[in-house]
């Protein structure tokens, strides 16, 4: 099943009007049919940002649970596991009150309140102490310690963020599995820099899905076609930059989502007000600071990022979705940066405003109304592979429901132009799309149309 690429950018006057809910449902049905048919040992689902990945996981898990066969679920972090436990427990409490969820944890782990008190959830660090739950769920790292048991069914969540060696450690635990993830986000990484395994189909530095598909090219690959999170204003640019061959549609049409500023700027021509006005009008804003080479913790840029977030609150920003309006609280704003020391610098600049500030790695899978992003290449002299990685920019630019404001030093296009990718091409290693350099150029070209300069 593929996305109807012909209709991807078609207008409303086209013969077949795009019905996002129906499209998404059709895709989900096809995925569940392939998975439960037991024809394939693995089914892969590619999901663009906010396309209902967790909803799919919960729905697939409920279907397997209804058959009474044991299911294991693998996620990558403890937060992801807890989120899934929470959602699954609610779903099963409604449909299958008898079903139980076993949350396998590391020793010394204390479950957060939201799952500690759920009646159908047991938390323990010992598999046998969980009894025989309908669904057993744990992180990949914890599953690697489980031996001598197999499950008929498995669901692997965030499979593109899982490294192939973690899949190797747990693959003997299941007979067939559903692999769900977002190919556009950050690839798993290693602190070791080695070309030793380049081109091998089981390269341990590749993602679990990449290795799975290279060794089993016949497995079906599905795609969730609709992003429910991203507003219409982000559809074209995110799809073009990060999903160039597959694309996706936004679940909301033009003008259905928006950012409204409660108080007018009062005639203020300050750049920060101007960039907020631009973001409210178009969904995007680029606050461009004067060109300068800086250390990573550029204090001016950190202050500007903090000021944008603070000004959003001051101007009583309101998130509009269809005909509903909700005030944007600090909790609905996120700030993203590339490095941890930048995150720390921005936190200091923010003072006690309770806005989430984090690196791209940690923002993966999260959703906010407005995001403020410190561009990874801001103030840099060079563009290293780390800073060019398309997944990093994709995560930072696709967390928002209403608008995204990027803060950067001038000169990113020039840095990009002087640092075309020069990495070697390795034999028998599939070329990875999208290319980070091209994705960065595409995004900058788009942002420049929404630029406000600070002089």
């Amino acid at each position: 099943m593929t996305v109807d690429t012909a209709s991807r950018h078609s207008t409303m006057s086209g013969p077949a009007r795009f019905d996002p809910a129906a499209e998404a449902e059709r895709a989900t049905q096809a995925i569940l049919a392939d998975f439960t048919s037991a024809h394939y040992r693995g089914v892969v689902v590619d999901s663009p940002p906010g396309a209902g990945k967790s909803t799919l996981v919960v729905r697939a898990a409920a279907e397997i649970a209804a058959t009474g066969e044991p299911l294991m679920i693998v996620a990558q972090t403890n937060e992801q596991v807890d989120d899934l436990v929470d959602r699954l427990a609610r779903r099963l409490a409604q449909n299958m009150p008898s079903a139980r969820i076993g949350r396998l944890s590391r020793a010394g782990y204390t479950a957060p309140d939201r799952i500690a008190n759920l009646p159908n959830v047991t938390v323990d660090s010992d598999l046998t102490a969980l009894g025989e739950p309908t669904i057993t769920i744990a992180t990949a790292a914890k599953w690697a310690h489980v031996k001598d048991r197999t499950w008929r069914w498995a669901i692997v969540d965030e499979a593109y963020q899982m490294r192939s060696d973690s899949l190797l450690a747990i693959a003997s635990r299941f007979e067939r599995a559903l692999f769900v993830g977002d190919p556009g986000q950050l690839d798993p990484f290693s602190t070791v820099d080695s070309d030793r395994w380049r081109g091998l189909t089981w390269d341990p530095m590749q993602s679990a899905v990449a290795v799975l598909l290279r060794n089993n090219p016949d497995l079906p690959v599905h795609r969730l076609p609709v992003s429910w999170r991203l507003p219409h204003t982000a559809e074209r640019i995110i799809a073009d930059a990060f999903y160039p061959h597959t694309g996706f549609r936004s679940g909301t049409g033009p003008g259905e989502r928006g950012l409204r500023l409660g108080t007018a700027s009062g005639g203020s021509t300050a750049p920060i007000d101007a960039v907020l006005n631009e973001a409210a009008a178009s969904g995007w804003g680029l606050l461009e600071l004067p060109a300068r080479y800086t250390v990573r913790t550029d204090s001016e840029a950190a202050a500007a990022v903090a000021a944008v977030a603070r000004r959003l609150i001051e101007r009583r920003a309101v998130a509009r979705s269809a005909d509903q309006e909700q005030p944007i609280t600090p909790q609905r704003i996120a700030i993203g940066a590339a490095h941890r020391d930048q995150v720390a610098a921005i936190r200091t600049a923010l003072g006690n405003l309770p806005v989430a500030v984090d690196t791209a790695n940690r923002l993966q899978g999260r959703e906010y109304d407005v995001t403020v992003v410190l561009h990874p290449l801001s103030g840099r002299r060079d563009a290293s592979a780390f800073h060019l990685e398309s997944g990093r920019l994709c995560v930072l630019a696709s967390r928002h429901r209403q608008a995204c404001v990027v803060v950067a030093r001038a000169g990113i296009r020039e840095v990009l132009d002087t640092h075309p990718p020069t990495g070697p091409v390795h034999l028998s290693e599939p070329v990875k799309f999208p290319d980070g350099w091209v994705a960065n150029q595409t995004v900058m070209a788009h942002l420049e149309a929404h630029r406000v300069r600070v002089r």
Binding site: R41, G42, G108, A141, A144, H145, K147, S164, D165, L167, L168, A169, A171, S172, S190, T191, V192, S194, R196, W197, L200, T201, W202, D203, P204, M205, A208, V211, L212, N215, N216, V295, R340, D341, A344
Partner: protein
């Protein structure tokens, strides 16, 4: 590049001489290293042209290949190299000390090449010799496949962070000094040494510029100077090719070739020993001996494997071997980074700048604090508060250890900003024995200066992977076991 290194480079430019970025030596230098300077023929894939090798600065052995395109001459070179490398390696296998239920060599071989390209040459030479057979249609000298196994061993050890079995001298030097040139220029041994140890009355920058003249300082290899190739090497090889075997003309060509190649290698040879001596002048870091012990264990294991007739290392890692090795390398890397910082305040400074470590004074101690553990038993967990002016970015709950008290872990309980810095309160565990009251000296004292770091060695073992014969379907299923074949032995050298 860390801020400290960037700053040191800027200072090197200003001062005209390389600046130290380490206060101790982080690499082990063997008493009797085998220095190896190889040269290759331009335009051929890893075709050896010459090498200078030996354990004595005054007595190098020169090996040359008069026609590097001739396969037999290449293997003759490999055989002569084997006659040096294999006895050198074997000489370390005799003296052993007990280690658990087995033994470990008290010292291990160490190979030192000029630059990272030298390591790559070693790897490829190992790759082209280890599968050879000593019988059959393409028989080679008995030492050649052994040489291949050992060179491969060295090259694979070189991938281990912190291993010193095979060192590239430029890497080892750049770990301790920052120059005023780029990292790429630092791989030129002559230029790097010019910055680190400039001749009297010359600045490092000036000396480095002169060192880049290949007529004065021939390249440290494996690539040669193109001018030399065109004007000296090509005519001599032609003279060798066109002369009749055993004729005086051939002997003359051979002599001249040896002389010419020696002139290309000798400056680097002496530079190697100068660089090694320069490194030796630094006192070794505390953890260096521990990391060398890992090299000694690896050597002992591999020597046993080879002497029991072990097969050559496979061409590529299988799925399980690759994952196992990646985990091993990652753990070695984490441990190496942590140990280096603990050994050296200048390396620790990098972590202090990024907020992953902090130095300060103990302002309060609750040394007899006892709390119930998970099982409900009372355990000694002293509380220590440190006042620091460093920018602390470690959150509560993070684990730290002090450079001077490495066996004791501190769990950050709170981080509090005060007008003149930060107060960090730690709960200590370990390193206090079993007594109810910690013995004197086992808990930091009031006013003690301490540097706590959140960059810690990796101690948790990674979970077991499936056995090779149970490689799962996701990774291609169980692989065919490797059987050395005649094809391996007959493979072209490229």
């Amino acid at each position: 590049m860390s801020v400290i290194t960037a700053y040191a480079r800027a200072r090197a430019v200003a001062a005209g001489v390389a600046q130290p970025i380490a206060t101790v030596r982080h690499v082990h230098l063997a008493e009797r290293p085998l220095v190896f300077v190889p040269l290759t023929l331009a335009g051929e894939a890893n075709a050896p042209l010459a090498a200078m090798i030996g354990t004595d600065a005054e007595k190098p052995t020169l090996l040359t290949v008069p026609q590097p395109r001739n396969r037999d001459l290449r293997f003759a070179f490999a055989a002569r190299l084997a006659d040096i490398v294999v006895p050198y390696v074997d000489s370390f296998s005799h003296e052993v000390e007990p280690l658990r239920d087995t033994v470990c060599a008290v010292d291990a071989p160490q190979l030192i090449v000029p630059n990272p390209m030298g390591i790559e040459f070693t790897r490829l030479l190992g790759r082209s010799t280890r599968f050879r057979r000593t019988d059959g249609p393409y028989a080679v000298a008995p030492g050649v496949p052994l040489l291949g196994r050992w060179l491969t061993y060295f090259a694979e050890r070189a991938e281990h962070p912190g291993s010193c079995a095979l060192l590239a001298l430029t890497d080892a030097l750049s770990l301790h000094w920052a120059t005023g040139q780029s990292a790429l220029e630092d791989t030129n041994l002559a230029a790097l040494m010019a910055w680190i140890d400039p001749p009297a009355e010359s600045s490092g920058a000036q000396a480095a510029r002169e060192a880049e003249n290949p007529k004065v300082w021939p390249p440290a290899g494996p690539a040669t100077d193109p001018e030399f190739d065109n004007q000296v090497l090509a005519p001599l090889i032609r003279a060798y090719d066109t002369s009749a075997p055993d004729s005086p003309a051939r002997q003359r060509a051979l002599d001249e070739l040896e002389q010419a190649l020696a002139s290309q290698l000798e400056p680097t040879w002496h530079l190697m020993w100068r660089g090694i001596a320069h490194l030796r002048s630094l006192p070794p870091g505390v953890s260096v001996a521990g990391r060398w012990a890992a090299d000694r264990r690896a050597f002992t294991d591999f020597h046993r494997y080879v002497s029991e007739g072990g097969a050559p290392q496979p061409r590529r890692d299988g799925a399980v071997a690759a994952a196992y090795r990646l985990n091993l390398l990652e753990r070695a890397r984490t441990t190496y980074e942590a140990e280096r910082a603990f050994d050296d305040p200048l390396v620790m400074a990098t972590h202090r700048l990024t907020g992953e470590a902090f130095q300060g004074t103990v302002v309060s101690v609750d040394r007899e604090r006892r709390v119930p553990n998970e099982k409900g038993n009372l355990v000694t967990r002293p509380l220590v508060t440190v006042h620091t002016k460093d920018p602390v970015r470690l959150p509560a709950g993070a684990k730290v250890a002090a450079a001077t008290r490495r066996s004791q872990t501190g769990l950050i309980v709170s981080v509090e900003t005060v007008p003149d810095g930060t107060l960090v309160t730690l709960e200590l565990s370990g390193g206090m024995g079993r007594a109810k009251v910690p013995p004197p000296g086992s808990v930091p004292a009031l006013d003690e200066q301490l540097c706590y770091s959140g960059v810690l060695p990796e101690n948790i073992p990674s979970p077991a992977l499936p056995p090779v014969e149970e490689t799962p379907w996701t990774h291609g299923g169980p692989p065919q076991p490797y059987e050395p074949s005649d094809e391996d032995a007959a493979e072209v050298w490229e």
